[in-house]
Amino acid sequence: MDDQTVMDKALSTPNIEKKPSSLRYYQDGPPDSIDINDWQLVISGQLAQKIQLCFSDIMRLNQITQHRRMVCVCNWSIKRHWSGVLLQDILQLAGIDATRTDNLYLKQTSIGTREKGCYQSTIPLGAALERRALLAHSVDGSKLPIEQGYPMRLIDFGLYGYKSVKGLTQLEITDQYEIGYWEKLAGYELDGTIRKKKYWLVETRKHYFPVQEGEITEL
């Protein structure tokens, strides 16, 4: 095998051809197309100055790949190789002091569509930083498919997927813990912590019952 083949194999996820609903489902879209040259991530709110980052700005930051498990509130889960930048690195650019996040929240907004509007979700900022939340642009070595959040999505691995916005375009630092799109529509919890219940593991085709709430790290 050549190096690329070895790398592809190392980053692959078994059984990924089986796609649970939320790997295909995109509540507010997805947008018909996204011109990466026009896309920006705007960071605003309770900081000294609003900043705007283009995709290449983000790609110049420290890039990491993490093999971590995301969990859907629909009771399935998948462990994949997510590549991107840490939320803390993005916020550092915006001058956020990661040690002073009490009563601060992170409101995420998607690119959205004309028909359905934007998807928004707000999460506690300090907890997201503690859990090393990621702004992912790639999965298993390839850029995110549009239905999974191209060009970038946030993932807080301690929360169900509906709390982490696909097709991200705005982050706002706020003191308001606002109810988000999916909570408002379907009554899911604002908190979104992964609960102790049975999940279908896509990559192993087995069920698993976690030992505690929050991110599943024991597998």
Partner: protein, 265 residues
């Protein structure tokens, strides 16, 4: 074994003992032998046609039908019908009602003079007293037995529920031992109980009920068209906040006879 209430499609579940739970997952254990009093249960899930009467009779505007928390919930959100009430994939007369929070399910049950089942009542009605895995026995499920998604992978994203009489399809022994239809798949069904990590709280083993706070998560039993085959097992447990109005949960009611439930929680 059963006796229906004429015109109400309710079945008598006779008093008896049954094995509740399983050793497959921590939240289904410990397995215990439970003593149950008699009760009636709906033979079918509550349909949209049933629920229309609740709306037509101003159920959403009658505070007498709601708990304080439930009333506050629907008032704050200006709720006047289930979430999928105008969606043709979910609103046909003989489809089970869905898009209802736990509070809406309770209010409907109060409206018809019934209540939600306890988790134990639901499991007893589903599996009877012979320890079967699924309502129809131990045979692995197929789409003829129930509406579910193998591997949590529905064929279509634009899902819809089946009719309450659709499952089991042409399998005479496919209904529960008490003759209940559609207890596996299609829509999970709200129960009264709050979620519990396991059954260690149940020391009396007689009409158990675990209810701590209606604002906490409540049990939903039976799996849905979005969930996989393991959720079809009679002892499988799932839970959601009482605010949940997604198209994965519906309801059926029970009518309790004179002996009440013991609240062990």
């Amino acid at each position: 074994m059963d006796q229906s209430i004429s015109g109400n499609n309710m079945l008598l579940i006779t008093a008896g003992k049954f094995i509740m739970g399983s050793e497959l997952y921590p939240n289904e254990s410990p397995v215990r032998k439970i003593t149950m009093s008699s009760f009636y249960i709906d033979q079918y899930p509550v349909t949209n046609a049933d629920y229309k009467r609740f709306i037509a009779n101003d159920g959403y505007n009658n505070p007498d039908l709601w708990s304080n928390n439930g009333w506050r919930f629907i008032r704050d959100k200006n709720i006047q019908h289930p979430l999928y009430w105008h969606d043709s994939n979910w609103n046909q007369d003989q489809q089970p009602v869905t898009g209802i929070s736990w509070w809406e399910a309770c209010a409907y049950a109060t409206f018809v003079g019934k209540s939600l089942p306890t988790e134990a009542q639901w499991e007893y009605a589903s599996r009877g007293d012979d320890g079967r895995t699924y309502p129809w026995g131990h045979i692995q499920p197929t789409q003829e037995y129930a509406c579910y998604s193998e591997g949590c992978e529905p064929d279509e994203l634009d899902r819809k529920s089946s009719l309450v009489t659709d499952h089991p399809k042409g399998i005479p022994k496919g209904i529960s031992p008490f003759n209940c239809f559609d207890m596996a798949g299609n829509l999970a069904e709200w129960c009264i109980d709050n979620n519990s990590d396991d059954y260690s709280w149940d020391t009396k083993r007689h009409n158990p009920l675990y209810l701590k706070d209606e604002n906490l998560h409540h049990i939903a039993r039976g799996g849905s068209g979005l969930h996989d085959e393991d959720y079809l097992r009679c002892s499988s447990r799932d839970f959601y906040p009482p605010t949940l109005r997604d198209n994965i949960v519906g309801m059926r009611c029970v009518l309790n006879l004179k002996e009440g439930n013991n609240d062990n929680g």
